[in-house]
Symmetry: C2
DNA sequence: CACATTCATCGTCTTAGAGCGATATGTTTA
DNA sequence: TAAACATATCGCTCTAAGACGATGAATGTG
């Protein structure tokens, strides 16, 4: 039962991370806690859309939230998530540089053949 | 341009990881390289479904593949992905144990109130 | 060469999720 | 208490993705 719970939670966390806006939100919040009315103008999306994304991150236990008067303040609950993003970026960079390298080689080869 | 490429690749990698079958495939392949005909009987899905999932992991640069005769052999290209899964599992476990703890406290409280 | 094996890809169906406007809920302020 | 503000939620549309059977493209075998 626990094994299945962990499996479900694992997918929930990774699904929450697999969206460009939500990744940007996390990077934005890595600078410290922010209320929604601060977050909104930093993202070119409707209020309902941002609210939904924040809630998905909250449900995945990645963000923490706290109500202060009429504001709701979000912050990163699990800093490990930033480490995960860092590792994924590392993988992405590796891939991009491989592609760039391949591009150069191809260019060179084509150049020689002409 | 590169920033956007990294961002796209990042989402691609995380999307590839956000599926239960694909995570199981990675755990399965962490035991070493396997051809598709070995993988298939270990998963209760159609051949086309497994093939597609393997391809998604391949496209995300997570798996490597090699053709040997009429077999295609897959293996993990980027071991860092296992480390990422490990960290996500850690987060998931933390959450599960929090829930379990909350359950106990609730139980105790209800018990005391009666 | 005909056939079996192995795997990828295509076409189709169905479901999940992103996006947004409109509305609901709770809080401060006038 | 009415109005303004901050945010969540609902209802809807549209697109992306999962699943699978059928087909296609290789490779090996009799």
């Amino acid at each position: 039962m626990t094994a299945k719970s962990v499996s479900n939670m694992r997918v929930k966390i990774l699904s929450a991370l697999s969206d460009p806006i939500r990744l940007d939100l996390l990077v934005y919040l890595s600078g410290g806690e922010r209320c929604v009315c601060e977050i909104l103008p930093a993202f070119q999306r409707s209020q309902s859309t941002i609210s939904k994304h924040l809630n998905i991150l909250y449900e995945a236990d990645i963000l923490e939230r706290r109500v202060d008067g009429k504001r709701t303040i979000y912050c990163i609950k699990e800093p490990m998530v930033l480490e995960i993003i860092r590792m994924v970026d590392c993988m992405a960079l590796k891939k991009i540089s491989q592609l760039a390298e391949a591009g150069k080689i191809l260019e060179k080869t084509l150049g020689n053949n002409q």
